[in-house]
């Protein structure tokens, strides 16, 4: 009897492992492409790929997180009148990701990043209120993980685009961006599936200082 139970359990564990591995195999190549994908149609295709995985694996944090992230990238690439629709879709999957791992600092960072995309629709009317909301996410994230380079990048980016008279500007953004680059450069052994975006974006902003 006990053996039978054990067999059942180990079979279940094995099958679970097999399934998880196949999921990792599905995600890894997509995440690799994500780093180099540009343009709306390429990103849309990736977003759809991640979305299919997320819908088939609703309990998987990575699948949901990457769907949300890719839609956020699409929002940054989209014309103004299409930003909100993409952000709404991103938020849908970010909500799921947050429910799966409520304490993951990356959720908070992505939430702040997503709000930055929304602010782009109309910085004048949205800047203050959504900027504040975004700041709350980032402050919490940086308290939890002061050396997370993505949190530093998103904060730096926010300051970069905030007019100097409102306490922002390129000068004030620089320390955050440089710190982010330092950490990106120092971290070489990242876990394959975990978020590692931001290096390219940080470099792009820092390039404007020359």
């Amino acid at each position: 009897m006990n053996y039978l139970l054990l067999l059942c359990i180990s079979l279940a564990v094995l099958m679970g492992a097999a399934r998880a591995q196949s999921l990792e195999e599905l995600l890894t190549p997509k995440i690799a492409v994500l780093d180099t994908t540009k343009g709306m149609s390429g990103l849309q295709q990736l977003a759809n790929d991640f979305e299919r995985i997320a819908l088939a694996h609703p309990k998987n944090w990575h699948a949901n997180y990457y769907t949300a992230y890719t839609y956020t990238c699409l929002a940054f690439a989209a014309p103004k009148d299409q930003i909100d629709a993409r952000c709404d879709r991103a938020q849908e999957y970010l909500d799921v990701a947050m429910a799966i791992r409520p304490d993951d600092v990356e959720n908070r960072i992505l939430a702040a990043y997503l709000l930055s995309a929304r602010i782009n629709v109309n910085p004048m009317t949205r800047g203050a209120s959504m900027g504040r909301e975004s700041k709350v996410h980032l402050t919490t994230a940086l308290e939890q993980a002061p050396d997370n380079p993505r949190a530093l990048y998103v904060r730096g980016m926010g300051i970069f685009y905030t007019p100097a008279v409102f306490g922002g500007g390129k000068k004030k953004a620089k320390p955050f961006l440089e710190r982010a680059r330092e950490i990106f450069d120092a971290s070489t052994d990242f876990i394959p599936l975990d978020p590692h975006w931001g290096r390219r974006e940080t470099a792009a902003l820092l390039a404007t200082y020359k």
Binding site: N48, Q82, D84, T125, R132, P163, F166
Partner: protein, 696 residues
Amino acid sequence: MACASVTYAQEVPVRGNVIDHRGHPVGGANVFIKGTVYGATTEDDGSFTFHVPSLGDTVLVVRHLAMQAAAMPVTIKADTPPITVRIKPRSTLLDEATVDTRNHRSIDHNRSITLTTMDIDTSPGSDGDVTTALRQFPGVQTVGESGALFVRGGSSEESKTFIDGLEITYPYVTGVPDIAQRSRYSPHLFEGITFSTGGYASAYGGALSSILSLDSRQHPTQSSTVIALLPYGVQGGHDQLFGERTSAGVDVGYSNFGPYYRLINHRTDWTSAPENWTANANLRYSMPKGGIIKWYGYANTSLQAANLPNENDAGRPAYLKVNNRNAVSLFTLERPLAKRAYMYVGYGFNFNHDEYVAASATGSLQAQHQLRFAFRTPLIGSSTIDAGMEGYSVRLSLSDMMAVFDHKGAAWAELTIPAFDRATLRPGLRLDYSSLVAGATLSPRLTATYQLSAADRLSLAWGKYTQQPDYVYLAAMPNISYQRAHHYIANYQHSSGGHLLRIEGYRKDYGALVTTRDDLANDGSGTASGVEIFYRNQQGDSGLDYWLTYSYLHTERTYLDYPTRAMPTFATPHTVHAVAKQFIQPIGVYVGASYSFATGRPYFNPNNPIFLGDRTTAYHHVNVNAALLRKWGNTFITVVAAVNNVLGNRQVFGYRYADDGGFRVPIERPYGRALLIAAFISIGRDRSEEILNQLP
């Protein structure tokens, strides 16, 4: 084992294409087998190809950002024929799906004008006043001697104000006649300001012409302090957070217009310029599973006294002192229930005491309690129902001699039915009852909206609206009945990429208006019809925001003491506004300008045999303003300079004639060119938005 069998199964191709309702290809759609990762993204020509390992009956799903998701049963076999999937566009506008849709109390389903607090107070000439800012939008008449809203040929009593769904009985400070008084509530208390000029939902009653709905702010994210220094007063407020869910705030202000009025040469002969004490307080609690409990309290005491020219005494001054005390307490609970369902409970208390001291003193005291329930829940398919009921208890005493009691109530229900893919029908019914008015009244209403394309929408509205006669009349003659208006509205709206174009045509038929010529009766009637055009460009990139409005109005009525049908004193055929605001980001300066034009309004001249046959001269009004924004650490400072009535012209709004017609007193704008400089200091969180909101 199951895994292995999947991996080694024979893969078969699934091919097809996705088209929209017009047969055009849809690119970028996500096509996949439900519950699996097998799928593909459609190409620009709508085609897709992918491979699946398993055979049999399954479901193919298509998702696209701008379209409704579709699912269709398919049978996968070795030679599956190409599949064509037709998907429908989403019925809501793409750019409408913003995060700012916290307002559950939809007033008139997308035909209303929604303003941010920022819109209100960066508008040149608005002086940080909600109703003054609204006057630059279509449908509102330019009535410079009043602070109230006159909408589409309706009198000021026909507009009602609600905060968080609860009625506000006296939204304006009571003052001496023919001087525009400010609305009581600072726009920075609200995050949603919605104004409907007709055809509103069944949840709203007691107003023949328009509804102004204000939604108080949600839970703040940080404690903060704000101080405002104005030439006529000071104001200080503090918001404190207690944990994650609870917050409380107080805001106290004192104003005395005396020194400022002397500075701008205010022409009114004030013996005591308006003096005000105001206190606002709020409590908010966010419930653990969504939903919020809010309390808002307001108290105000104000005094003003002036020598006003008496037209029946050859313009010699007559003293009038006006005292006003007002308090409001609003308690609301809003909570989302299951998907697409929500509930609301509100309790509102309004107290108002007016005292007029001239040769003798008169006054009125009104207290009103309101209890309101509302809920929304999905029905079959994607239809929903909104329903609710409310009860009022009102006591009004006039000059401490006579008191009126009114117990009134209403119940309503409204269905939202999506039809023919792109249309939405909203039939509704409202029942009003009052113990003071003879009988109950039933008001059917119907709205139909048709989405022409993602950016274009057509809507039609029809409805019956009723309003009790003013309590002053009901006190004298309790059995007069409801006044009524039928609205017929056709609206076209185009909105894309920061452009909004709205064209609206309407007709209003008034009936049973109160007449006072003989005995009080419901013998009045009237019509109002017109066309309004509104264009706003708010792209945000360049920091430029501008709008143009044109309102045409044709209206006639008999009511009160009118001997014949005539255009009322608060109406004019043509009104134009042009407003532009530019934010100069590098230097943190906001500049704005506005120009308003209106044709002359009728005034009563007893010497003219034609009743209301005279017209004033046309109205011209130009305002400019500038705001400098600076931030030091966590302190945010805004300095504002505004010039109201740049032209400095004398503007006559009308005349008051002596009974014998031998003398007249002009009703004028009481100042020439007026300069205002103010400073706002905010410590704590970045309240730049609210600071901007307070710009005069």
